[in-house]
Amino acid sequence: MNNSRFARTAGWLAVPCLVAAGLLAWYVTREPASPFENHHIAVADIDPALVARGEYVARLSDCVACHSVPGGAPFAGGLEMATPLGAIHATNITPDTETGIGHYSLADFDRAVRHGVAPDSRRLYPAMPYPSYAKLSDDDVRALYAFFMKGVAPVKQANIQSEIPWPLNLRWPIALWSGVFVEAEPYVARPSQDEMWNRGAYLVQGAGHCGSCHTPRGLAFNEKALDESGAPFLAGALLDGWYAPSLRDDHNTGLGRWSETEIVQFLKTGRNRHAVVYGSMTEAFNNSTQFMTDDDLTAIAHYLKSLPGDPQRDGASWQYQKVSAAERLDTPGAHTYVTRCASCHGLDGKGQPEWMPPLAGATSALAKESASAINITLNGSQRIVAAGVPDAYRMPAFREQLSDQHIAEVLTFMRSAWGNQGSAVDAQAVGKLREHTDPASSSPTILHMR
């Protein structure tokens, strides 16, 4: 009697469980809808003008930065991205039919780019910024497809398997992650805003995927906001050993002191009187922003300047205080500053704009997070190539020259001089980043998400 009641109850429970499991299985393996479902495009028929337009969309989206390795064929993949679970590798997106995406239909391509779903229903890791690319318009996706099918040379290069062990390498839970965190709709223009603002918003939120680095992430590694309706959107974030500064109208750590013209100049030439491109932004500049049209850069600047700052997060407004590092030799770190830094950045901290950036009022000297200041001191800056010409001046690496203690002291000095109000830097933090960014290290634990 008891047994049969138990069996009956279990039976009743099993039904909803099975239904739920069935629904789950359906959800995590389903193919998202694509407006291109029944479009068949023959590669031979693709209009060269559409290919050219797609090449520009690829520049806007900076596909090449991740889907290539230095010295390798463009878009052939292979870049290692270290995650705490194990390394993953960017894939071959050349139109090779065996190892690349040559067999993708336009709808397959659309699902991968805007929904993060490969043709076998396998979910892509969100290292691929599809939460941003979801905003791309149908026209831009079509153009992008045309470029990858006809404008890119096919390269036979097999993809490298991820090193994440079972069961962590199961992809289906990513579908649930996407369901919660991705708004899978193309950008919709705000009627209350003008055309330029809307173009800027489209570029920043979509192809530009600025938020991938500049928006802080939540516990599930999700961007806390995907557009201007959320206050954390582009509010600055720590990622990949760098602090990507706020792109909002914050006086200290954002673009508060930058004019729209200066933002355009920065994205087009890599430098302005406030700052010079460095860290992860170097790749974004070298491969992407400098190729954008003046109109698009102006739209981006216009949109970014519309994002209000937050004085509470940003702190008291920085004001320049005149002092020469040479007069403060008693302060720890000042001597190192005078001998190692002042030739370029000046005893007065004002640099030699726009060639050598000022440290007085620099984001890296005002932000709570000291990662960028430590990282660039340890590892120097990457080569900036503007309009085909490499930069004349570059930050040297001090990894081999200065101890953790010396770097901590000189950065603490730099972050407290000339009105700067960044917190002190301790030697442990330097040691940690030294190890994590060591090219010879066997266990990099920083997620490269660019």
């Binding site: 030799l329 001998t339 030739s343 060639w355 050598m356 001046y393 570059r394 040297p396």
Partner: protein, 151 residues
């Protein structure tokens, strides 16, 4: 652009971001200023701009337009520079000599601003690298110059 170097005016055709060192050596043929590291770390390329020592390998030439540049070629035209060079000779400071034009520029800049520098001030200012290790000789020369600082 127009540059003032060693009390002379030169017309130079160079990009704004060209390092001053290249203009001095390659365009104007004054090779007393040396190229060392190209990263402002060694000091071999030191010159004076308005009396302050700067590392010309990291000084965009556009930044010195309208200012007075002094190189090793003219350092003896300066009273302090002349004393520095003569002390350098007296004490036979140089070995291979490659870094010495930069050392002399750094010493001159310090003594012009501060005729009697303390040990700490000398240590802070004389930071150019020397592969031969003439640091002791430089130290001795600086002390002699500082001791006679009021003269």
């Amino acid at each position: 652009m127009e540059l003032r170097i060693n009390q002379k005016t030169y017309q130079v055709d160079a990009d704004a971001d060209t390092p001053l060192l290249w203009v001095i050596r390659d365009d104007l043929g004054m090779t007393g200023t040396k190229y060392g590291c190209g990263l402002a770390q060694c000091g071999a390329c030191s010159v004076l701009v308005d009396g302050n020592v700067v590392r010309s390998c990291v000084t965009p030439v556009a930044g010195v337009v309208g200012r007075e540049v002094t190189t090793i070629e003219a350092i003896e035209a300066d009273e302090v520079g002349k004393r520095v060079v003569s002390t350098w000779v007296d004490l036979q400071v140089a070995q291979c000599g490659y870094c010495q034009s930069g050392q002399v520029m750094a010493a001159t800049a310090l003594l012009k601003q501060n005729p009697k520098p303390s040990d700490a001030q000398i240590e802070a200012a004389m930071v150019n690298l020397c592969r031969c290790g003439t640091y002791n000789a430089i130290h001795a020369a600086m002390h002699e110059l500082a001791d006679k600082g009021d003269a």
